[in-house]
């Protein structure tokens, strides 16, 4: 009896797919068939599978289908990297932090890379400047030799200029070989250079500043347009001073003005100035009296000064190379302004000084350079730059320069001077009038 019960109700294990395939192909013995059929009666799963298999027919079709499906399944899932019992917010913090750190490092790397590229540009620029400076030194030394009999004051002034040039050459060597980033940050025009360019010849300063101002305004114009503007301006200047070659001037004046302008010499500038001075020299070797006056700073201006003539000459000659020059200058200026806007005044002032090395009276660079120095708490340098800005009558940044000058003077406890300039601001009735009045009240 037990045997009968066992035979009817005993459980059997599910067969392999291979057995099922053999069953379908009728490759099993009668006994094997019986055992399988006995299982199939009790097992709905195997029964369904067998029926599905019988519908597929060729079992070889199934393998690629299953491979496809399994690969599709794998694309839906992610491999477990770790076995975590509970996914909490805390467990993500280290990953997020690590990702942030990596992102930060990568961004720093790229920023440095970018800076490095800029450095290379600056390095090339500084090296070029050194080469040009070296070239420019030769005519300068010649000029010095010619000045043996000139008044002592002029000679000493020239010595200072030469010393500063040599010092700058050394500085530039260091810049080119060592850290360029620092070079940019520390690239300073000696304050006396700015001051001299302002005080040495007012007319030159004004003419040059005016020129720089107009061209800098046109800096954002297309290159061709910029060149055209400059050409028109230069033509105007040339027309204005076309009779200037008849004016009596001395060699000392020529040497003096040339040397003062060659603080940041450019090869072309040096050559041009030399050419200009040579031309003018031919027709102007008469009186030494104005020389002594001029060298002392007590200038008795002729109606049309020699310096203006020289500017006119220079402007005309510069036109040929102006597009190229201003393209690179504007790139440097844009870099300067980008850093200025990012409150990175140390770097900004370096770039502004680079612009000024090309064009010492670049109005915008003088103003923003001055403000950068003000922000860096370099009051003396800031004052020199702003004074230069204030030389331009009705300049775009006149009021701002006045106000910042007042702030600097107040900062340096020069109260009487501060009051004077505040009073000027009030009298001018400009946009800083109210602030000036308030400050003046406090000072009083």
């Amino acid at each position: 009896m037990t045997d009968k019960l066992h035979k009817i109700f005993s459980k059997t294990e599910c067969p392999s797919e291979e057995i099922l395939q053999k069953y379908l192909k009728d490759e099993l013995s009668m006994e094997e068939k019986h055992l399988l059929e006995k299982h199939l009666i009790d097992c709905e799963i195997c029964s369904d599978v067998l029926e599905g298999m019988s519908l597929v027919g060729d079992s070889k079709i199934v393998a690629p289908i299953i491979v496809d499906i399994n690969s599709e399944i794998k694309s839906h899932i992610q491999k477990p990297q770790t076995k975590s019992k509970v996914i909490s917010l805390n467990s993500w913090i280290p990953y997020v932090a690590a990702a942030a750190v990596i992102l930060f490092i990568v961004s720093i790397f790229y920023l440095r890379q970018d800076l490095r590229d800029n450095k290379v540009i600056v390095a090339e620029k500084t090296k070029e400047a050194i080469e040009k400076e070296t070239d420019a030194k030769q005519p300068l030394n010649n000029v010095k030799n010619e000045l043996v009999e000139t008044p002592e004051g002029t000679y000493q002034e020239l010595d200072i200029v030469l010393e500063s040039e040599l010092q700058e050459e050394i500085d530039l060597d260091i810049i080119a070989d060592d850290e360029i980033e620092n070079a940019i940050e520390n690239y300073e025009i000696p304050p006396e250079a700015i001051a001299k360019s302002a005080s040495g010849s007012t007319a030159v300063g004004k003419a040059a500043v005016n020129y720089s101002f107009t061209t800098s305004d046109a800096a954002y114009q297309p290159q061709k347009e910029t060149t055209d503007i400059k050409r028109i301006q230069a033509e105007k200047i040339s027309d204005k001073y076309k009779d200037a070659e008849n004016i009596e001037l001395t060699e000392v004046q020529v040497a003096s003005t040339s040397s003062k302008k060659s603080i940041f010499p450019k090869k072309k500038y040096a050559k041009k100035r030399k050419a200009a001075s040579h031309k003018i020299g031919k027709s102007s070797r008469r009186s030494e009296a104005p020389v002594s006056e001029n060298s002392k700073g007590n200038i008795k201006k002729p109606e049309i000064s020699y310096e203006e003539v020289e500017v006119a000459q220079d402007e005309t000659i510069i036109i040929a190379d102006s597009a190229q020059k201003y393209y690179s200058q504007n790139t440097t200026y844009n870099l300067a302004f980008t850093n200025y806007n990012s409150n990175n005044y140390r770097v900004a002032v370096g770039y502004f000084n680079l612009v000024l090395s090309d064009s010492i009276n670049h109005y915008n660079s003088l103003y923003y350079g001055g403000i950068s120095y003000y922000k860096l708490n370099k009051n003396d340098s800031a004052l020199i730059y702003l004074n230069k800005v204030l030389e331009v009558e009705k300049g775009a940044f006149h009021e701002e320069a006045m106000w910042h000058k007042a702030l600097i003077l107040k900062r340096t406890n020069k109260i009487p001077e501060t009051k004077l300039i505040l009073q000027s601001i009030i009298n001018e009735n400009g946009k800083y009038k109210i602030q000036a009045e308030e400050m003046l009240k406090k000072l009083n």
Binding site: H6, F9, M30, I41, I45, I69, N70, H76, P80, I87
Partner: protein, 206 residues
């Protein structure tokens, strides 16, 4: 946070447990890959179309992520079979143009309807109370069922042989065997129930 040594060695239930703990889909993928062939063949049985079966296979897989979290599963294989079957049936019902096939399916269902019930008897060999009743149960079956059950279980013949001996249709043979076995089980369970009742009544009478 330790790396799992060998995921292949984990049982179905362990994989489900890991998935429930970590919500990592990888465990579900591993689990499902063990049964893709089975699911595919079951889908083929109902859909009778390769592409539809493949689609159903992926749909069922995507359903698992939620279903595994919602259900307490003791036997994944049989649970997955039920899920697959239900999924296919729902799809078939939604296909209005498939009435004929549905009719065919329902016809087929009648043939295999017995297999849905558990035809095993637990602890058969230990249950001596059935020993005396098995012949009685066999005799209670109708003629066709008795012949087929005896040929199949006691004389261990396969369907083909039984069909040859009895001249019954193969499907009929299968049906007689399944229904005969079910009737035997019911008879024996009925007997067991009555026996328990008698014991209880006797207990009250005593």
């Amino acid at each position: 946070m330790t790396k799992i040594p060998n995921i292949k060695k984990l049982s179905d239930i362990e994989l489900i447990s890991e998935y429930k703990n970590s919500r990592d889909k990888f465990y579900v993928g591993e689990l499902y890959e063990r049964y893709t062939r089975m699911v595919f063949f079951i889908c083929m049985k109902y859909h009778r179309d390769e592409e539809k079966s493949k689609d159903a296979l992926m749909q069922i897989f995507e359903k698992l992520f939620m279903d595994l979290l919602e259900h307490e599963i003791k036997n994944f294989k049989s649970w997955l079979h039920t899920v697959t079957k239900n999924h296919c049936l729902i799809q078939l019902r939604s296909e209005k143009s498939e009435f004929n096939r549905k009719g065919k399916y329902q016809k087929d269902q009648k043939t295999f309807v017995e297999s849905e019930d558990d035809l095993y008897l637990d602890n058969v060999e230990q249950n001596n109370s059935y020993e005396d009743k098995i012949d009685e149960a066999l005799n209670s079956l109708n003629k066709e069922q008795k012949i087929c059950v005896e040929l199949f279980y006691l004389q261990e013949k396969c369907y083909t042989e039984i069909a040859e001996i009895t001249a019954y249709d193969m499907k009929k043979v299968k049906s007689y065997i399944q229904n005969g076995k079910r009737n035997l089980k019911n008879y024996l369970l009925k007997f067991e129930k009555n026996k328990k009742k008698k014991i209880i009544i006797n207990g009250f009478l005593l």
